[in-house]
């Protein structure tokens, strides 16, 4: 075991897989010599060579598009979009090819790859650097979408993602990159994709969240406990395929649901979870399920971001309302 932050843990996951599987290649903008703008791939080029870990010209579409060709021809690309806000030029490749080639070729070719991208707000960033657009990917048939909330989960989930035969969108909450440290095993281990985790057991209300907002919910829960409210917290970990079973079981127990997501609420992951609650646990509900989410607006620049970012108090406010309904 070693104390690691999320950057260390992701770096180690990639490093272990590079050592193990000669077909893995790691590339993107600045990932080679510099080791990425967040240093997530630091030293990997030095260790594994510039043939396997390399910088590309600055073009997201061709990073993903050439990864499709590589995957088809037997390599396993683990690629980086420098920020999720820059993935849009690559959306044609992701939606039209990464997500479709298996179906189009009736299983003859696949595009197993991991597309990593830091996402989310809270770091006083420039424009286009703070969005949480996971719903776009979760809505695309053919993709799987993973978002870890701790260093240990990031490592185990990324190893699963790299070993998956399906393409994985791996979104990294950059606000947590260096904010949380924990003991992480230095061995290779994997955490299955598609499994949520119950972080705290409770009886009054279920909160489902993921990524950077897990920590905010946990802060709200300290105050909720003082108010005598017992919260069950579920870390979704995989957005798609969504772990319905864990969520439904919890709702059946508590009868109440609050979903906390950072991105725009409408048509989002919260809407999906509430639909699941309605379809699968309707008679167990004692209050209307509630979304706490970003506004359906552009994320404001740093001086206005506090209006948008979800605070522990905002979460507490909705928890209290739902419990008292």
């Amino acid at each position: 075991m070693k104390i690691m932050n999320m950057v260390n843990a992701i770096n180690q996951a990639i490093d272990l897989k590079l050592e193990e599987d000669p077909d893995i290649v790691v590339f993107g903008e600045d990932v080679g010599v510099e080791g990425g703008v967040f240093r997530v791939t630091e030293n990997l080029q030095k260790k594994h060579g510039a043939r396997r870990v390399f910088d590309t010209p600055l073009a997201e579409s061709a990073i993903v598009g050439s990864a499709v060709g590589m995957a088809v021809a037997g390599l396993k690309p683990v690629i980086e979009m420098q920020f999720s806000g820059f993935v849009y030029p690559a959306m044609n490749q992701i939606i039209s090819h990464v997500a479709r080639i298996r179906n189009r070729s009736r299983g003859r070719y696949g595009a197993p790859m991991v597309i990593r991208m830091p996402y989310g707000g809270g770091i006083n960033a420039l424009e286009h650097h703070s969005e949480s657009m996971e719903a776009l990917f979760a809505h695309t048939p053919g993709l799987k979408v993973v978002i870890p909330s701790t260093p240990g989960d990031a490592k185990g989930l990324l190893i699963s993602a790299i070993e998956s035969e399906d393409p994985i969108i791996f979104m990294e909450p950059k606000r947590l990159y260096r904010a949380i440290k924990q003991e992480v095993s230095e061995d290779k281990y994997s955490i299955p994709i598609g499994q949520a985790k119950v972080l705290s057991h409770g009886s009054d209300l279920t909160v489902v969240a993921y990524g950077a907002l897990i920590r905010e919910v946990q802060r709200a829960m300290v105050k909720a406990k003082d108010m005598g409210i017992s919260v069950e917290l579920i870390d979704l970990r995989t957005i798609y395929p969504i772990d319905k079973t864990t969520v439904i079981e919890s709702i059946k127990k508590t009868g109440r649901l609050v979903v906390v997501t950072e991105g725009p609420g409408s048509f989002g992951v919260g809407a999906e979870l509430i639909t699941i609650a309605n379809e699968e646990a309707f008679l167990h509900l004692e209050a209307p399920p509630k979304r706490v989410s970003g506004f359906d607006t552009i994320v404001p620049l740093p001086k206005g971001e506090h209006h948008y970012i979800i605070s522990p108090d905002k979460i507490l406010f909705e928890i209290e309302k739902t419990v008292k309904y």
């Binding site: 061709a62 598009g65 050439s66 060709g69 088809v72 390599l75 299983g107 998956s164």
Partner: protein, 362 residues
Amino acid sequence: MLEEFDSFKTEMFQVMDPAGNITKPEHFPKLKDKDIVGAYKKMLFARTADLMVVSYQRQGRIYTYPPNQGQEAISGAVAQIIRKDDWLVPAFRELGAWLAKGASLKEIFMYFMGFEEGSLFKNARNMLPMNVPIASQLQHATGIGYAINYKEKDEIVYTFVGDGGTSQGDFHEALNFAAVWKVPVIFIVQNNQFAISVPFKTQTASDGIAIKALAYGMPGIQVDGNDFLAMTKTFEEASEHAGSGKGPVLIEAVTYRMGAHTTSDDPSKYRTKEEEDEWAAKDPLVRLKKYLMTQKLWTDKEEETITGQYKKEIDRIFIEAEKHTDYPLEDVFKYQYADLPDDLLLQKAEHEKFLNWKASRK
């Protein structure tokens, strides 16, 4: 040859003029008489099949189809050069190249009849399905090229795009990455003068496409795409270049789409009869036939006999493809993921419940 016909000079490379005369004997490709006759037969087969599909479409027996008529020499030349392990990354108007790679006509018919199975190309090694989102396939070719270098394989990637596709950012990105990575990819632009209705001069102010290679740092050549011999010679040289670690090549094949963009298109809306006649005189099949007849390698009688055989064979294959009607619900789901999420199985099961309910009400 690639140096001699430098893209910056923008001189179109031609070996045989429209009358079938050899104008540049020094650039005659390494083909024996029987190879050229064989290539002509393949082009004739592709032309015959292509025209028949258009007529099947008119009879309502197949859906939308993009005709190849007028562009057969380009695919015909690729067919001569491409090896079993080489990759073919198609656009959607290179029927002869697909067939050469081992795609069956039945599969091709099935695809345009509405079955994904038609994209399987069971016997075609290293060939991707045809590609509809314009120019996006070029990036896959570049990536395959990277994998070939990485795995130190002796393979070359042949990829196609049209003149309209060169306006896409993906064209630029794919060529740029390919040149930086020095990958063995041959980019073939079929400049057939129109992107649906938009003429080449509206597409770009550039003096041709081949010239663009210069800025990417790769050889580029503009070739008479209706000259089978020039196209074959070009692929000979390009494959030599790409296969010897020198990186990609850009080939602009100047041609003309004699038919419609697809069977849903009406070219009379955007081009003149005069222009069509002018290009009909440069028809790649007529040209090669003239050459073969001058060389006493081909006769009208042979052509008549073999065309009759082809028509019968193509019709037989078409009818065989028409017999394939079954598209089980399961097939909608089963190829979406390698590891299918339970939720998709559930969606299928729910739909089956509905189907049972519907059946019970009959």
